[in-house]
């Protein structure tokens, strides 16, 4: 189809959007994984107030539709004096939203760890941050790997919502291309293909990493 020829001719637009999507996903994924890991501490805390607050945050993010959340951060917050540019608002939204999900899945993984190996940590004199970082966190990450992979795919898909606030990611650039050159089919098919490729790569990498992780579970 000649449509695809047109898209190929202007492929740098699509690729530019794809590149931005990858940057957004990388930043949000890394950030939400780190924040989620830290979030497990209050989620598993014996302190009921701390645990309650963290759980409330997680439960809220599970009920909040991401699109409305993005809108709120970008269009609504300026009334309170908080003005973000669209990239910042988008990434902050992704971070706040996905840290909750990462935190919850890592917490579930922590709760499933055999109690004895954590007890052994206590018995050998580990406590506090050292216990968390060296004894608890690595097994949690290894056993949660498949779920982390799923969440990464979710982040890729959520990144597309940022088109609504005019962030120049893949979907936005594909829309731009199709309105300029009247090639909607080829344009969006190209975008869908690139999303598919990204997610399949993530799945493959996680599958590969899983083999490494299984020995260490």
């Amino acid at each position: 189809m000649s449509e695809f020829a047109v898209v190929w001719q202007h492929r740098d637009l699509i690729l530019h959007g794809f590149e931005n999507t990858l940057i957004i996903v990388a930043l949000s994924a890394a950030g939400s994984l780190v924040l989620g890991a830290l979030l497990t501490i209050p989620l598993m805390s014996r302190n009921a107030v701390l645990r309650g607050a963290a759980t409330a945050y997680v439960d809220t993010m599970r009920c909040v539709p991401f699109l409305l959340f993005v809108y709120l951060l970008y269009f609504g917050l300026p009334s309170l004096g908080l003005r973000f540019d669209n990239w910042t608002a988008g990434i902050i939204a992704l971070l706040i939203y996905n840290s909750a999900y990462m935190g919850e899945l890592l917490r579930a993984s922590w709760a499933d760890l055999p109690k004895e190996q954590i007890e052994a940590g206590h018995a050998f004199g580990f406590s506090g941050w050292r216990l968390f970082r060296r004894i608890i966190l690595p097994p949690v990450l290894f056993s949660a790997l498949p779920l982390i992979g799923n969440q990464l795919i979710q982040i890729v898909k959520d990144s597309a919502f940022l088109t609504i606030i005019a962030v120049a990611e893949l979907t936005h650039e594909a829309t731009s291309l199709q309105t300029t050159y009247f090639v909607p089919f080829a344009s969006f098919v190209a975008a869908v293909f690139l999303y598919w490729l990204t997610c399949v790569t993530i799945e493959g990498t996680i599958g590969y990493a899983n083999r490494y992780a299984e020995e260490r579970r």
């Binding site: 809220t60 699109l67 609504g76 969006f188």
Partner: protein, 215 residues
């Protein structure tokens, strides 16, 4: 914000939920059909179904909505925004449902199937009375979970210009020059709706877990 403003946002929420419910009603059986195609390994259709599931599961709702609305007219299928939105959500949820149904079919105890065969049951009866009730039972928690996720992601169809909750909130904000209150109201209202679904889901899960424990 006037009472009318609240009402229009609530009306928008209703529109979004209605679209979601229609998509759920269509997507659950569609997922079952595709799962059966995959399970019985029909030639040509099986790899097509597999490709469909793989592509749509990794496709953002927004992009899919735009593809359906803007690209389908090229092959002659010109849809209004609302049907396009329903189609988007249906195709999306059906892809996830396919995997859920497929899991239930693959975990179906072989012996029960063989028992049905040995009693001379023919395929239609076998499926309707033995297989289907049980896979419905074992799939239900996951299906309800997917329904909740669909409700949550359905504001994506706002990109098609449908007047639903997102658009309603934008309109109110544009009129009053105070975007924060309508967005907060929309967010809270819709989150409550999702919360109700999540609560229902928990009840369903608990009841099914109890049934499993007793079984």
């Amino acid at each position: 914000m006037t009472f009318h403003d609240y009402l229009s946002i609530a009306h928008g929420a209703l529109a979004t939920v209605s679209i979601s419910l229609v998509s759920i009603a269509l997507g659950v059986p569609l997922g079952l059909g595709l799962a059966l195609i995959r399970w019985s390994r029909l030639p040509i259709l099986n790899p097509l179904a597999a490709a469909y599931v793989s592509v749509i599961r990794t496709c953002p709702s927004v992009t899919l909505a735009l593809l359906i609305f803007f690209a389908l007219p090229e092959i002659g299928v010109s849809l209004d925004p609302v049907p396009a939105g329903i189609l988007t959500l249906t195709l999306s949820t059906a892809a996830f449902n396919t995997e859920i149904w497929r899991g239930a079919l693959m975990n179906f105890p072989r012996e029960q199937y063989e028992a049905a065969l040995s009693f001379g049951m023919r395929r239609g009866v076998r499926f309707r009375r033995i297989v289907l009730p049980q896979i419905v039972h074992s799939s239900l928690p996951a299906l309800v979970n997917e329904m909740t996720l669909l409700i949550k992601s359905s504001p994506a169809v706002a990109v098609l210009g449908i007047v639903e909750i997102t658009r309603a909130a934008i309109r109110v904000g544009a009129r009053t020059y105070e975007p924060l209150p309508p967005f907060v109201f929309a967010l809270v209202l819709y989150s409550l709706i999702v919360f109700l679904f999540v609560k229902t889901q928990r009840i369903v899960e608990r009841r099914y877990a109890q049934a499993e424990a007793l079984a």
